[in-house]
Symmetry: C2
Subunit: 329 residues, 2 copies
């Protein structure tokens, strides 16, 4: 699958910037470079980074709207560091032993140090943002608080059956906040009128939902070789996700009983995962989720039409929107 | 023991400010209020806060040097929130079940949510500092990064015999950074010349060392009823502390063997704690630590003489310095 241009154009400068933000000499910084994929387990330079979606969106938006790119890069890096601090802590909270095919920070260095390293990454993110301007900084911190609140609600959901609406409210915070922030920050750095910042935020909200629901689909039906996680991982971990919320909302009779039984178990086995997937498929959960994704991406397109990007910018954004519906990792 | 005036004068406004910073409606904010001691386990308003040393120092310094007090309060609150985020995470890292006589956050809400709540507190601290001014904000973030680095070194020390110098370097970061920051921030808010900010930092460094070494003494010889922890707690937890570093440096022959044996054990028993304390007393560790504290406080006094506080301010600061040598909690 060809990557959209927005996700490739800024990669080199983001990588260089991250290397610079995390250049500290002690072991702590080496572990942070390892976490983001700039170094491998032996400290050798590596290129094992994620999609870099959020910083790419900041840079793209700022560039399209005429912002100063040096300042945009600072904001972009700060946002990516915030995202990464949350990943270090998420991996502990979810007991995830691997990320992008490598052992997670807590798995290699223990939970106590991993907590500390996430803290360090958060503080470095803010340090990186100190000169990005007051408004952009405010938007960044607002989004950070929202993301953490979303994670708090998610943790609080554990063991509870969650409705579709509560689920969407949670992901708007947990995932949506940083994606909205990426667009809004790009706009603020370009000093666009507040109406445009609002529209950017609305486009970001739709894209964020589509992004998370696609993530949830991949967490159940994703290709193990591509995602790096076995099929059905999110079911085995009892993760609250869109397919689960939909399934619980639609199941009745025997199917409802199966779901309740499995989710009440202390430990979910491979056979249980198969059962749940079978129920989901009978209920048409997968295609319902795909419809939802298409729906949110459509709405993102409607907001896009209102934003004063160049013609080329709109085409590139459309390319990214289309990619969101079919991405495999 | 009468508290020094610096620790009582600003308490009411700091409490009110914290209540305002943590006023969010969801359960997450209620837990943060519980953690800082503004509410009890049932959510009833309480006054169970700590010493509030750091924010009191910001306010005192700014007031003495003619800073704008509304701005100083923001900086003071941000610093106290940074300190408190680190406490939430420290309690997880040290497996501490209680703080100020109450169950810790992780003990009540689980490790995953406690990690998240520490993250929230850090983000709220930065949010609080957004309008405190660029320089003060930079100093705050520098200190935050340093504190976290110090904690990282401390965690990295685990299971290793640590020399006195490494230990002092570690506490200069872990504890010293925020205390230095309190004085420097107060000075920056009052727009004093950079030489005064430097002297404030040097006084803070000495005070920070004395503070931590006294803490270490209380962690071994402190009165259970006053500190809220059983005698010898830090030994049972194999915490690296000044007395331990001194003991290891001075012990030879049989005494060295006893220390090595105890610290090599998986689990330290009450009898082991008694043995270690007996060795420490034979080696004169306690009085050596007390001398060190007196020495650092003397040096703090020398820096104090250079700082353009009022006569009354100097007297009050001297009162605080004297208190640091004898405080029981």
């Amino acid at each position: 699958m060809t990557l959209p241009r927005i996700l490739t154009r800024y990669r080199a400068q983001i990588e260089e910037g991250l290397l610079n933000s995390l250049k500290g000499k002690s072991l702590l910084y080496a572990i942070l470079r390892y976490h983001v994929g700039l170094e491998d387990e032996r400290g050798t330079p590596a290129k094992n980074m994620g999609k870099l979606l959020r910083p790419s969106l900041v840079l793209f938006t700022a560039e399209e709207l005429g912002g100063e790119m040096a300042r945009a890069l600072k904001g972009a890096l700060a946002l990516e560091l915030i995202h990464n601090f949350s990943l270090i802590h998420d991996d502990i909270q979810d007991c995830d032993p691997t990320r992008r095919g490598q052992p997670t920070v807590w798995k290699r260095y223990g939970v106590a140090q991993a907590i500390n390293l996430g803290d360090l990454m958060q503080a470095l993110a803010v340090t990186q943002a100190l000169t990005v301007g007051k408004e952009a900084m405010s938007v960044l911190m607002e989004a950070t608080v929202e993301m953490i609140e979303g994670q708090g609600f998610d943790l609080d959901f554990e063991g509870k059956a969650v409705g579709v609406n509560s689920y969407l409210k949670m992901i708007d915070k947990k995932t949506g906040a940083l994606i909205r922030c990426a667009f809004r920050m790009g706009g603020l750095i370009a000093c666009v009128p507040s109406g445009v910042v609002k529209d950017l935020g609305k486009m970001g909200k739709e894209l964020g939902r589509a992004f998370q629901i696609r993530d949830d689909l991949l967490g159940i039906w994703g290709d193990k070789v591509i995602t790096g996680k076995p099929q059905g991982t999110d079911i085995r971990r009892k993760k609250k996700s869109f397919p689960v919320a939909i399934a619980l909302a639609r199941a009745s009779g025997e199917e409802r009983e199966i779901l309740k039984e499995v989710y009440a178990k202390e430990k979910i086995l491979a056979q249980d995962v198969k059962c749940v997937i079978a129920v989901m498929e009978r209920l048409g959960v997968r295609s319902l989720a795909e419809e939802q994704i298409a729906d949110h991406l459509d709405r993102a397109g409607t907001w896009l039409a209102k934003i004063p990007f160049s013609q080329r910018g709109k085409e590139e954004m459309k390319e990214l929107i289309d990619y969101m519906a079919i991405r495999e990792k």
